[in-house]
Every structure is written in structure tokens, then in C-alpha cells.
Subunit: 533 residues, 2 copies
Amino acid sequence: MGLSNLGPGRSVVLRAAFLLFVFVQSSNGGNILVFPVDGSHWVNMKILMEELHGRGHTMTVVRASSSWYIKETSPLYSSITIEDSMKFDDFFDDYLKRQIEFLKGQASVLKFFSATWEFFVMLSDAHRLACKMLERMLDDPDLMKGLQDEKFDLVLTDPAISAGVMLAKYLKIPLVLNARWICSGEGHFAIAPSPLSYVPVPGSGHSDKMTFSQRVKNALFYGLILFQDMFVVGPHYKTLCSKYFDAECDVLAYTQAADIWLMRLDFVFDFPRPTMPNVVYMGGFQCKPSKALPDDLEAFVQSAGEHGIIIMSLGTLVKGLPSDMAHQIAAAFAQLPQKVIWRHLGERPSTLGNNTMLVQWMPQNDLLGHPQIKAFVAHGGTNGIQEAIYHGVPVLGVPLFFDQFDNLLRVRERGGGLILELSELNRRTFHESLQEVMHNPSYRANMRRLSRLHRDQPVAPLDLAVFWVEFVMRNKGATHLRTDSYKLPWYAYHSVDVILTLLSAAGLLLFTIFAAIRYVCHRMCYRKKMKHD
Amino acid sequence: MGLSNLGPGRSVVLRAAFLLFVFVQSSNGGNILVFPVDGSHWVNMKILMEELHGRGHTMTVVRASSSWYIKETSPLYSSITIEDSMKFDDFFDDYLKRQIEFLKGQASVLKFFSATWEFFVMLSDAHRLACKMLERMLDDPDLMKGLQDEKFDLVLTDPAISAGVMLAKYLKIPLVLNARWICSGEGHFAIAPSPLSYVPVPGSGHSDKMTFSQRVKNALFYGLILFQDMFVVGPHYKTLCSKYFDAECDVLAYTQAADIWLMRLDFVFDFPRPTMPNVVYMGGFQCKPSKALPDDLEAFVQSAGEHGIIIMSLGTLVKGLPSDMAHQIAAAFAQLPQKVIWRHLGERPSTLGNNTMLVQWMPQNDLLGHPQIKAFVAHGGTNGIQEAIYHGVPVLGVPLFFDQFDNLLRVRERGGGLILELSELNRRTFHESLQEVMHNPSYRANMRRLSRLHRDQPVAPLDLAVFWVEFVMRNKGATHLRTDSYKLPWYAYHSVDVILTLLSAAGLLLFTIFAAIRYVCHRMCYRKKMKHD
């Protein structure tokens, strides 16, 4: 078998095809209403929007006046700003501090519930604020009239918070979701049956191969998600429903009625699981070849020589780790012959070695694609992991919260990295884990294999995403790809009524047979008795 | 919204991209072992093989000496012929005759079971013969040594009959299925959870929207399929298992372990339903633009003038309808101003009009793509329906047996045609149905809409199929896309053990609380009593 592996030529060819495709196909652009979620979710949305902008589509973004990342003016879009008074500044740093408190010392059921409670409060706040924002919009007749007059072709939103879903329904516009999670856990729980025996629930920390006790834990976590749905997140949407929608209003049903789900996943990253035809996997859509580094950074990288470099970033949500942890990490880095680039916004650790450069920001993609890269110390955000897979770089994961452990677990299960929990992080463990990830060649080999698989797709993920967004605009939806089964009552969906009917029928049949036999026997005995008499 | 619809330009662009892709990517071809199913299944397999041949892959086909369609010599492949003494000549015509007997007069439960029995006998024979053929191969050490020495990259087979699946397992070679059905009904019942509440079972004759009684019927049909699996088809493979495989051998598990399923479906044709990441929908992969007709046929078509033409074909399995039915149909055709081209191998009906041309074979795709076409009278084979969708031609369906009613139902549900059952077919009903399909513009409009949707895909179906075949060769399988959940015992897969454990725990908890309350009450009552005393 002599098929060569896919070289970089492939993506060039397929990109060229798509550009030609643009030329042949589109005449005028569409008109898109974007209702994003702030933070790292917005970073993802913007990548998709840049591509759509490049293809001539017009976009209007709904943002909060307090927005963290979403600028009021941009060449990409016009914006509608809704006043609010939210402050996110130190929110996640405070949250992280409390998480670390929980993680230190012995784990206990009480601690788990306390941490979960904390998470629920945070989640409830986020949804409440988004719902308030939408209420303000719906209460503004001029604004709503303006939106209706715009005749949008599409609402593009992130269902991590469902206010955009509600707005699409209110305006009766086709809906495309740019999704990593929906409010009730991963999207697939809402859109395709996902047996708990091999589909791990977000937060369970398990893979698709579970022992009996892991499956019990998975089921309990599913219970938690149902609870979250009903009592944490749901009530905010119920309030909206009762004020602005009809009696049938249900936020989960509205989400399930979306035309296309663009999932920020693929099955090189995630475990295989059932899915529906209207779910498009665009995992790694943000990945692109690395560019040259700025001169000073390139000089620093080259100074590492044969030892190569390590980069460390814990994402955009938190500014840095608590100073004692940063201290331990800096000391571990100082022991290494590698050069280290570390995105750390906190206090400068006193143990910092000469080999370590602290930065406020780094060109992460260009560094991951640099030939000198040896390892990536990451918190496990989806984007960072996808970029590590794309460039084939082994990962040492230090998960902070949310889906980060689950993301890193997917890398570890495929032999592409290790996980070091905050509760176990110290100078020695950090140093040992890094050495293992860098010097055991299996981690790099596995990440390179994942990289090859990720790049070996018929259409590049971003092109696929754009295709389906435009498909929905061309065809005014994608009804033929989505099921209406969510409209069934639960007992019908799960065939409970059918099973009970068939069991009753079988019971009746058995009873009739039994009664008939009994009657015949009785008659025969009676006759016998008569004879005897 | 001004995006123009996809013109023919798109497919040209994407084809060009794929041809470039070939150039960039492939150096040497792969070596493929093909174990096809005869009849119309082979017609499908050959289309895929022609494309693979064009891309430089070498193929070896396993065929029976009695083969109906599969030639011993071909420029496409080399062949291995296994001796057998099967005779298929009039098999399906006889089967059809008995089916019609059943259909005429009143339907009854007894008749249904009799017809099902007939079907089971036929199915069992087909599987028995294929298993015998495989046994002959496995008993021939020289042949098996030769196959092993060939170092095939891939087994390509149709799981309608699973002998090819067993061979792939025996030779330990990656497996790609070219599937419309597997022995136990549609593939998805084996590969993704498919709730009986909205996924109709093959043969049930229902859509994805069912009433309560239809859902009961659907569940009963599922029971039939389980029966078929266990007692009709299964035993033949169990015999193979016990002779040549280990104790764990299970034909369904081997099928589920396939790397890629190329399903001859898409969701323009079929109802949306859960699926797994290793299932590739290539429905309509055989469709292509029409070519010019031979001169005599073109002259005949043009002679129809503004009235246009109708074509009728009942597929390749049967030679023709019984003469009384053909008589009625010919008389109905004779009443029409349209010209008719009818593939009919039986006796020439005496009622045949001058407007009707009987043919032994017709260039069906070129006629369906002809601007003069008004309607397609079809038996409802998957290929014909896909071609009608591709060209946007309304359908009058006359289903004979197997999946044909189900296929036609999918067209009818989308408003693209009507179904006329054999039991109701006479001159009047046939004439009326044809008039309705031709003169109510909604049928044509709906078929055109389906045609647009079918052509609006990021990659053409055949290119997609070839991509995934080559993917499996490049990557020696597609393990990351398929679940291993089929290896779980049934009670674990369905979480029965987990549910019982959680219920027991909840029961125990409730019991403990109840006992504690009772104990406390008892003590309090006792104290009170003591006081009173």
C-alpha cells in the first residue's frame, strides 16, 4: 500500500476549490444576526465571522455594554449595545481561588456539593443576566421593529447561553448554533440518544470505556445535569417564556429545533458517539499553519538550541495561578535546559529562572507550529487542545475548571499527554511530568498521529462550517436534516406507552390461554367425576 | 437574501478540486478485496469500483460460478470464482407471483405471516448459499494462502449478506461496507441507537411521524427483525463461527466493527435519524448528468411534442408483471397523449397503444434527465428513486417487494409522488394516478426542491465515498470514528445494572429513613405512655 500521507498540498487545493466555489455560487451576501456569548466563546465566534465577512455577508452583533471582549465598533460587524451593569473583571480569578481551596486537602462528598453549588450560582448568574438583556430588547418596541425590518436570513448564536435561541424563535428566523456546550451539558444529550453506558457526561471525568462504578457515577452526573436544567438554568427561561412567548414555549425544544449545529469538536478530539444529520463537526476550525515569530521571540527560541522550547498558557479566563503555585512552577522550569515562554499575568515568582520568559500574551499558534517546540503546558481549553492536536505537540495539562479536565482526558486517553491536577501540583511533580511528556517519544508520536488524522478530512472544518451557514441561508433552513422527535411527549419518545400496551396484550393472551386450559381441565375433571359417580 | 442557487458550476469546481487532490495525494494505488452481493447490489458496487479503478487501485472480486451479474473477466478487476450450483433465473418472478397472490383480495394476519414466511425462506436460502461459498474458500488452504499473501489493504463488501464481513475478520483486514441494508434490517439498528418512536423499521411502511398504533406496529416489526436475526439468518453464521472462528465469534459484532459504512442513502431521501461518525452517507452516488439519447430514441421522444414522455421500469429483479396487470397498464397508457417508454420483458399486451414503446433496456438516467420527461413509473428500488430525485422527476410508484414500498413512501411523504399498490392496480386507478402526478404541479415542484437539496452538498457523494475508502487504506482503519460499545453486554449497554443499583440504593435509603422515623416515633410514644402510666 503506497498511498502517500496527505501533505500540505491538499489543503491548498481544497481551499482553492472553495474560493472558486465562492466565485461560481454567490452573488450577494446574506444578512446575519449574531447573538454571541462573551469570553473565549466570542473568540471562536469571531473566527467564523471573519470568514463569513470575507465571503460578503453582513453581520449585526448583539452585545452588552459591559462586554468583556466584544467591541462596539469593528470592521466585521455593526453592533447593537444593550445597557447592563455586569462586572466580570476578577470573577474567574475569584472562582479559581475557591476551586483551589476545594481541591486542596482531602476530597469529600460535602466538598463536591459545595463546589457544584458554587458552579450553579455562577451559571445561574450568567443565564439571568443574558435573559435580562434579552428582556430589555423585547421591551424596546423600536429596537424590535428595527430587527424585524432588517429581514435577517439567519440567527447565529452560541447555545452555552440560550438567549440568542429565544431571540431567533421570537423573530421566526432560521437558526444556526456555534456550539461547544448547551446549557444542559453537551449538545448531543439534547439532539441524539446518547447511551450513558458509553457516552460520558460532561464533568464526569470519564472516557467512553467505563467500569461499572464509573457508569454509576456517569448516571449520577446525568442526574446533576437534569437538576441544573430544571432548577438552575431553566427558571430564567421560564420567566421569559411566560412574559413574551406562548404556552408551548420551552427553551430546550427551541434549541433542538435549530437548523444546523456547528459543533466545535471532531472525533480525533472527542470519543465517537451518536449524532444527528444536522450536526456538523468543525473541531479545529480555528487552526491554521504557523507564521514567522517576531524577531525578538524568534531569537529567544533559537537560543534554546537542541533543547527546544516549552510554552505555558492557562487561557484567557484567569490572570494567573495563586503565587505559591506560580512559585513552584517557576522553580521547576528553572531546573530545565529548555527555554520557556510563560503567559503569566500575576506577580513575578521569585524562583523564576533565566530560561523563562514571562509574557502578557503570546502568538500561541505560531509557537505551537515552531519546529523547536517540545511541550505545551495547557489548562485544557478546547481551542488550545485543538491547536496542540493540529500541530502535533504533546501536552502537560493543568486543568482549572469547567470542561478542561474532560478535554485533557481526551488527549491523555490517546496517549498525547499527561494531566497534573492542581491538588497535586508542586515543583517535583511538575518537573517529573514535564520530563515524561518531553522525553518519552510516545507522546509526540501520538500527537503527530492525531494531527495527521485531523488534517485528513474531505473538507477543511472552517470551509465546512461556512458551507452549512450558507446552506441554511440558501434553503431558508435545513428542515430535512433535523428530527421533530423532540415534539413527542417523553413517554412516547421512549416508547413507554407501546411497551406497556404490548406487555398488557401479552399478559391478556397468557391469562386467556391459562383460563381456557383451566376451564377445559375443570370440565374434564368434572366429567371424570360424573363418570365415577 | 441574494445567494444564487447552486448551478452546475459547483460540481465542476469540486470535481476539479478532487482531481487535483488525486494528483497531490496519491502515488500508488491500494489493493482491495471485494466480496459483493449479486443483482442490483452489484450494480451499485460496480459504480464505486469504477471510480476506485480510475484512481489506480487494484481490485479482486470473489464471485460464484453461478453468478447472475458478476462477470468472470473484466478490465476493472481480477476475479476468484467459487463453484456453486445456484439457479436464480426465475426466482424473483416466482416470488413476485406469490406476492401478488397474497396482495389480491383481503389482507389478513394469516396472509401476512404466510408472506413473511416466504420472505424468510428466501432470505435464509441466500445467506446459506453465501456461507457455503465462504466455507468452500476457507476449506481451500491454497486459496487462503494466496489471499493472505496478497496483503490486501481493505475488504469492500455489502453487508446485505455478511459472508464478506466474516472473510475480512478471518483475514484481519480493515473493512469498508457498501450498505443499503444489513442482514438484520437497516444498518443503523446495529450502529446507533434508533428510538422506535421515530425511526421506522424496514418493512413497517411508516414515516418518522407515527401515530400510537403505528408505533405499536413499528415495535412489532422490530420484533420480527430480531426473530429474523436469531432464527432465520443467524444460524448460518453460527455454523461458520463454530467451524472457523473462536468462541467470541458473532456476525453482528463483526459488522459493527467495520471501519467505515458507506450508506447508499442521504437525508434528502431518508428521514433524519441518529447515526455514528463512521457512517458516510453517499446516497445518489451513482447519479450523473444525462447524456444525449440514441437517435431513434430521441426521435421518438421528440415526437411527443408538448405532451412529453413517461418512462416505466420495474427494475432488474423481475422480468415483468403478470399478463393481466400488464394488460391493464398498457390500456391506461394507450389513453394518454404522452409517449411512453416501458421496460417490459414479458408477453406483449394486446391493449398496447401506438404511443407506447416496449424496450428490453433503456438509458434510464438519460431519459430521466431529458427535458421532455413528465413522470417516472417506478417499482421503488433505491437507485431509481435516487435518480428521480437527482433529476427532479415526479414518481408514480408500483412497489413489488422488499424495501420498495418504504422507498416510495419517502418520496410520497415529501410530496414528490404517489404510490399505487399492486392490489389496487387497474386501468382506471393507474390512469388517474398518472394524471394526478403529471398535472398537479406540486409533485414536480417538490421533486425539483429535493433535487436542489440533494445537489447542495459540500462534497459530491461518490467523491466522499472514495475519500473514505482511501482514508481507511491510508490510516489502516478508522478506529477513532467507531464505537466499541457493541462489545458491552446488553444489560451494561442499556444501563440495566446501573439503574437497578441506583434504585436499590434509593430503596435502601428510603427504608433507613422510614425505619429511623419509626424508631423515633416508637420511642416517643413509649415515653408518653410511660408518663401517662
